[in-house]
C-alpha cells in the first residue's frame, strides 16, 4: 500500500469530503494561499477557491462562533485552529454554544462542525504553543474528541468527523505531520468509539493516545526483548470511548498503563484508569498506572522540555516493575 504523511492524509480527507458535500467549507487563519503554517492544507484553495477555504483575521472566538452559526443553518464548517493552545480562546463558543445547542433545543438544532487543531510538546515552542488540551474538551458533554495516532487514522477519523452531525474536535500531533503510514487509495472511514489493537500481547496492556501509541509500541518492543508481552491499544476517540475493548484487554492481561500527552492530573489518564479499575477490578494483578505529561507549563529549554513527556524507556521501566509485581508506590 502507498505510504503518505499524516499531513497529506488530513489534506486528502478534507478534499474528498469537500468534493462529496458542497456544504462543507473550511475557515481559519492563513489556511488558503499559505495552507497553514504546517502546510497541511496546501492546494485546497486552488481546488475549492477562497469561497470555501476562507482566510480569517486573528479572531479565534469570532470565527469559531461563526462556524457554530453556519453549522446551525445547514453548513458543515471545518474550523482550523492553528495551535491547540488557542482552544482557551474559543472555549465559550465551543463548550457553551456548540456543545449544548442540540441538547438545549431539545434536539431541534444541531451543530455539525469539525474543529481541527493540534497538540504535542518537544518542539521547543514553549508554554503557549505546546499544550495537549484534549482532556478539557472531553469533559464537556456534547463534544466528540478524536486523537489520530497515524496518517491512517488521521484520514479515516477526519472523514467520519466531517459527516458527523455533532461538533467534533480532532487533535493532530504537530510532530507527526511528516510521519508516513500506509493509507489505502480507496475511500474508508473509521467509526468513532472503536479502539484499535495495534499489537497483541498477554502480560500487560499499554493504552496510548495520539503519539503515545508510538511510544507504547516502542516500549512494547523493548519489553518483548525481555520476554514481556505487551498489548498496545489505541482508543482513537476518547469521546466516545471504547471502554469495552479496553476492559477486555485488561481482563486478559491483568495489568495496564495509560499513556497520554496531556497533563497527568485531572486529565485523560485518570478517566481511563479509573474506568478500568472500576470495571476490571477483580482481574487486576496490580493497580492501573498512569503516565501523562508532567504537571508543569511546558518549558522552552530542551534540557527541561524532554523531561516532561512520557518516553518509551519510561513506559518500559514502569511496565517491567508492574509485571515483576513491584509496585511503583507501596500501594
Amino acid at each position: 500500500m502507498r505510504e503518505i504523511t499524516l499531513s497529506k492524509a488530513v489534506n486528502e480527507a478534507i478534499a474528498e469530503e469537500m468534493r462529496r458535500d458542497e456544504t462543507v467549507f473550511l475557515l481559519g487563519e492563513d489556511v488558503a494561499e499559505a495552507g497553514t503554517p504546517f502546510k497541511v492544507l496546501s492546494g485546497l484553495v486552488e481546488e475549492f477557491g477562497t469561497g470555501r477555504i476562507i482566510d480569517t483575521p486573528i479572531s479565534e472566538p469570532g470565527f469559531m462562533g461563526m462556524a457554530v452559526g453556519a453549522a446551525m443553518t445547514g453548513s458543515r464548517p471545518i474550523v482550523d485552529l492553528m495551535f491547540g493552545d488557542f482552544i482557551f480562546l474559543i472555549m465559550d463558543q465551543l463548550c457553551n454554544q456548540a456543545a449544548k445547542t442540540h441538547y438545549m433545543s431539545g434536539g431541534k438544532l444541531s451543530v455539525p462542525l469539525v474543529l481541527r487543531t493540534n497538540m504535542g510538546a518537544t518542539r521547543r515552542s514553549a508554554a503557549q504553543h505546546s499544550q495537549s488540551l484534549h482532556a478539557l474538551v472531553a469533559h464537556i458533554p456534547g463534544l466528540k474528541v478524536a486523537m489520530p495516532s497515524s496518517a491512517y487514522e488521521a484520514k479515516g477519523l477526519m472523514k467520519t468527523a466531517i459527516r458527523d452531525n455533532n461538533p467534533v474536535v480532532i487533535f493532530e500531533d504537530k510532530l507527526m505531520y511528516q510521519d508516513k503510514a500506509p493509507v489505502p487509495e480507496e475511500e474508508y472511514l473509521i467509526p468513532f468509539g472503536v479502539a484499535n489493537v495495534k499489537r497483541e500481547g498477554s502480560d500487560i496492556t499499554l493504552i496510548g493516545t495520539s503519539s503515545m501509541v508510538q511510544v507504547a509500541e516502542k516500549a512494547a518492543e523493548i519489553l518483548a526483548k525481555e520476554g514481556i508481552s505487551a498489548e498496545v491499544i489505541d482508543p482513537r476517540t476518547i469521546v466516545p470511548l471504547d471502554e469495552a475493548a479496553l476492559i477486555e484487554s485488561v481482563r486478559k492481561t491483568s495489568r495496564a498503563i495509560v499513556i497520554d500527552e496531556g497533563h497527568q492530573s485531572y486529565g485523560v489518564t485518570g478517566e481511563i484508569a479509573s474506568r478500568l479499575n472500576e470495571k476490571a477490578f477483580y482481574h487486576l494483578d496490580a493497580p492501573v498506572l498512569r503516565m501523562g505529561a508532567m504537571d508543569v507549563p511546558v518549558p522552552f529549554s530542551p534540557a527541561l522540555e524532554d523531561l516532561t513527556v512520557p518516553t518509551p524507556e519510561g513506559v518500559a521501566a514502569a511496565a517491567r516493575k508492574l509485571c515483576a509485581g513491584e509496585m511503583i508506590h507501596a500501594a
Binding site: 469559531m64 445547514g74 438545549m104 433545543s105 431539545g106 431541534k108
Partner: protein, 329 residues
C-alpha cells in the same frame, strides 16, 4: 439568489398585525411574570415589556426563513418571529411540549421552524452564531438575512468586534440590532460604555443607524430598507434602537431604586409606551377603532390565559429524556 422580499407593511392589515404582535408580547410577559410571582415557574426570567416595538418592527420586516438570534431577554423576539404561546409557556415551565422539550427554558428558547436560532444566556454569545448564519446564507446563496439582537451591555463583549470585522470583510447579510434600554443589569449604560456605539460599528466600515425603539413604524421602515439592501449583498449593518425595559433586570429585581428612579420608569411607561402610542396613532389615522384594538387585546389575553392553563397542566418530560439529545444521530 432566491427571490425573496417581505411584503411592505403599508396597509392596515399589516399595521394591525404589528399591533397584535406587540400586544401578544406584552401579554406573554405579564403572564410569565405572574407565573414567577406565584412560584409556578422554575428559575427566573427577564421581561421584554417596554421593548415590543423593537422585536416587532424588525421581525415584521423578515420572512420566516430569515434568521434571528436572541438573548436572555428573548421572549419578545420569539413571539415576534412567529412562535406560539402554548409551546412557549410549556418551555418556560419545563414541559415536554415546549419548543425545546423543556430542556432550554426561558433563557434558551428557540424556534427553529420560524428561523429563531435561540435565546442565549451568555451575553453576546450569539453574535458569532448570527454572523455564521449569514455566512451560510452567502455561501449557499439562500437570500436569507440574519438579525442579531443584543443589548447595550453586550457591546462590551470583544466577540462583537471580531465578527463585525469579518462580516464587513465578507459583506455578510447580517444586521446587528442593539437594543439600548439604558441598562446592563443594575448599571446605567453610560457607566459601562465609553465613546459612541454607532461609531464602533462605523470604525469597521459598517453603516450605522440610530432609531427610536418605541416607534414600531420607524423601526420597521428602517429595517425593511436594510433587509432589502442586505439581501443584495450590501450588508452588514448596525442599528442602535433606543428603548426601555419596564421591569427589573429579571423578575426578581424588585427593589431597584438604587440604580433607577421610579420617576424615570413612570415617564417611559406613560409617555413612551410603544403599544399605547401605536394604538393612538392607528385610531388617529382612522385605521382602527378603539373597539377593534380592544378586541385584539381581549383575544390575545384570552389566548395567553388558555396557553398558560394548558402549559400548567401539560406533562413534564419523562426522566428517560435526560440523556437524550446530548448527541445528534
Amino acid at each position: 439568489m432566491a427571490a425573496k422580499a417581505a411584503k411592505p407593511k403599508t396597509n392596515s392589515e399589516d399595521y394591525l398585525r404589528m399591533y397584535r404582535q406587540m400586544v401578544r408580547i406584552r401579554a406573554f410577559e405579564d403572564n410569565a411574570n405572574q407565573l414567577y410571582l406565584s412560584a409556578k415557574m422554575p428559575g427566573l426570567t427577564h421581561m421584554y415589556s417596554g421593548q415590543e416595538a423593537v422585536a416587532v418592527g424588525i421581525c415584521e420586516a423578515l420572512t420566516a426563513s430569515d434568521k434571528i438570534t436572541s438573548t436572555h431577554r428573548g421572549h419578545g423576539h420569539c413571539v415576534a418571529k412567529g412562535a406560539e404561546f402554548r409551546e412557549m409557556f410549556c418551555e418556560l415551565l419545563g414541559k415536554e411540549e415546549g419548543y425545546c422539550r423543556g430542556k432550554g427554558g426561558s433563557m434558551h428558547i428557540a424556534d427553529q421552524s420560524n428561523g429563531n436560532l435561540g435565546a442565549n444566556a451568555i451575553v453576546g454569545g450569539s453574535m458569532g452564531i448570527a454572523t455564521g448564519a449569514a455566512l451560510t446564507a452567502k455561501l449557499q446563496k439562500t437570500g436569507d438575512v440574519t438579525v442579531c439582537f443584543f443589548g447595550d451591555g453586550a457591546t462590551a463583549q470583544g466577540l462583537w468586534y471580531e465578527v463585525m470585522n469579518m462580516a464587513a470583510l465578507m459583506q455578510l447579510p447580517v444586521i446587528y440590532a442593539c437594543e439600548n434600554n439604558g441598562y446592563s443589569e443594575y448599571t446605567k449604560t453610560a457607566e459601562i460604555a465609553a465613546g459612541s456605539l454607532p461609531a464602533r460599528a462605523e470604525a469597521f466600515g459598517i453603516e450605522s443607524f440610530t432609531v427610536d425603539g418605541q416607534d414600531v413604524l420607524a423601526v420597521n421602515d428602517l429595517t425593511q430598507k436594510l433587509v432589502a439592501r442586505a439581501r443584495k449583498g450590501e450588508g452588514p449593518f448596525f442599528i442602535e434602537l433606543m428603548t426601555y425595559r419596564y421591569h427589573g433586570h429579571h423578575v426578581g429585581d424588585i427593589n431597584r431604586e438604587y440604580y433607577r428612579a421610579k420617576d424615570e420608569e413612570a415617564q417611559w411607561k406613560t409617555e413612551r409606551d410603544p403599544i399605547v402610542n401605536f394604538g393612538k396613532w392607528l385610531e388617529s389615522e382612522g385605521l382602527a377603532s378603539s373597539d377593534e384594538l380592544k378586541s385584539v387585546q381581549d383575544e390575545v389575553h384570552a389566548d395567553a390565559e388558555a396557553a398558560v392553563k394548558y402549559a400548567l397542566e401539560a406533562k413534564y418530560p419523562d426522566g428517560s429524556e435526560v440523556d437524550m439529545h446530548v448527541y445528534a444521530a
